[in-house]
């Protein structure tokens, strides 16, 4: 699997680049994420639903591995997406910055993410609609408490995305 992925990536490097510039951002993309790694066995059972269009993303999430008093951590927020390689790329990279509210208080967020269409080959075209994409995020959230700023990370938060 590792060797196949490297081969696909090398093809992506040597094939001629397409014209620079952003594609049309008129698609809705729905993403669902369900598991993140963690510095403990078992990872984090953290679930997130996000809807994105034209650089604006709104989401709700629940981290069942973190407790706030007697409830698991849940919240909602808004991010602005800054594309590194947007929908005009087959394989998208982006960063998102934003924040929201949770039952533990307000938070700010920074995410580095990628979406890879689940097709068996790499195609020199823009990201296709109606094809499920593997979404992998590295997300950090920052909560301000009275004593300190708490940074909580979701390394490799994995899910699926669907553009239409």
């Amino acid at each position: 699997m590792n060797k196949m992925l490297k081969l696909i990536l090398l093809l992506g490097i040597i094939l001629p680049p397409r014209a620079y510039g952003a594609g049309k951002n008129d698609r809705y993309t729905i993403s669902g994420q369900g598991l993140a790694l963690a510095p403990n066995a078992g990872g984090q059972k953290a679930y997130r639903i996000e809807v994105h269009r034209s650089g604006h993303a709104v989401y709700g999430y629940n981290n069942r591995s973190l407790l706030v008093e007697n409830a698991t951590l849940f919240g909602a927020g808004y991010d602005y997406r800054l594309p590194v390689c947007d929908e005009s790329c087959f394989w998208q990279f982006f960063v998102q910055v934003g924040g929201g509210l949770t039952n533990a208080g307000g938070f700010a967020e920074a995410t580095w993410g990628t979406m890879i269409p689940l097709l068996p080959v790499w195609l020199p075209t823009r990201a296709p609609r109606m094809i499920p994409m593997l979404r992998v995020d590295i997300t950090s959230q920052f909560f301000a408490t009275r004593e300190r700023v708490i940074t909580w990370s979701y390394p490799l938060w994995i899910g699926l995305s669907f553009a239409f």
């Binding site: 590792n2 992925l5 490297k6 990536l9 090398l10 992506g12 490097i13 680049p17 397409r18 620079y20 598991l35 790694l37 963690a38 510095p39 403990n40 066995a41 078992g42 990872g43 984090q44 800054l82 594309p83 590194v84 390689c85 790329c89 990279f93 982006f94 960063v95 910055v97 920074a110 580095w112 590295i138 950090s140 300190r148 708490i150 940074t151 990370s153 390394p155 490799l156």
Partner: protein
């Protein structure tokens, strides 16, 4: 984590879609200072180090070599220290006048040690973990001065078996740097 795989991803990101009209290059060597958070710890440690950027015009694409270390901390007969080195590939994702935002991805290593200062049989423990690094930074940049505030993470694993248990060790840094760009020529 496979650093080779991460480097291939970063190289793809670096070479793809950089227009030729932005081929002018500059060099930005600087010192870096900031705070580090270790995995599963909510304490922040002071860190310092250096980095050098090789950048195309307007940061259409740039490469960064970075080294960071936490000062050795001595207490109760022990001393410990952490280090980090990384190679990043970055790109400007937003620009308005001198202000901008950059995104980075790369790979590197975190390593460190804990040892007894004295004793009949002083012990020493050490770790060394490769990882995938990502970053996002705000910048204020002119031809003469470049100031950046960055947030970086590095997702590390001790060995491949940890992925079976969904284990990863996220290090975080908040870093401040300032440099004078050195023009390397080009259009």
């Amino acid at each position: 984590m496979d650093p080779g795989l991460a480097l291939v991803v970063a190289a793809m990101f670096w070479t793809w879609r950089t227009p030729t009209e932005l081929s002018a290059a500059s060099l930005r060597p600087t010192v870096v200072t900031g705070l580090m958070q270790q995995p599963s710890s909510q304490y922040y440690h002071y860190v310092y180090g250096g980095q050098v950027d090789i950048a195309r015009k307007d940061d259409a694409a740039y490469m960064r070599l970075q080294y960071l270390e936490r000062p050795a901390f001595r207490s109760a007969g022990y001393v410990d220290q952490d280090f980090s080195a990384a190679l990043f590939f970055g790109k400007s994702v937003y620009k308005k006048g001198p202000l901008g935002i950059g995104a980075l991805i790369g790979t590197g290593y975190n390593w460190g040690y804990l040892k007894e200062i004295a004793g009949d049989a002083p012990s020493r423990e050490a770790y060394r973990m490769p990882g995938i690094g990502t970053g996002i930074e705000g910048k204020w940049s002119t031809d003469r001065l470049d100031v950046r505030l960055s947030y970086q993470t590095m997702i590390c694993q001790n060995d491949r078996s940890q992925i079976d248990y969904y284990v990863a060790w996220p290090f975080s840094w908040f870093l401040l740097s300032a440099s004078t760009p050195i023009n390397l020529g080009g259009r």
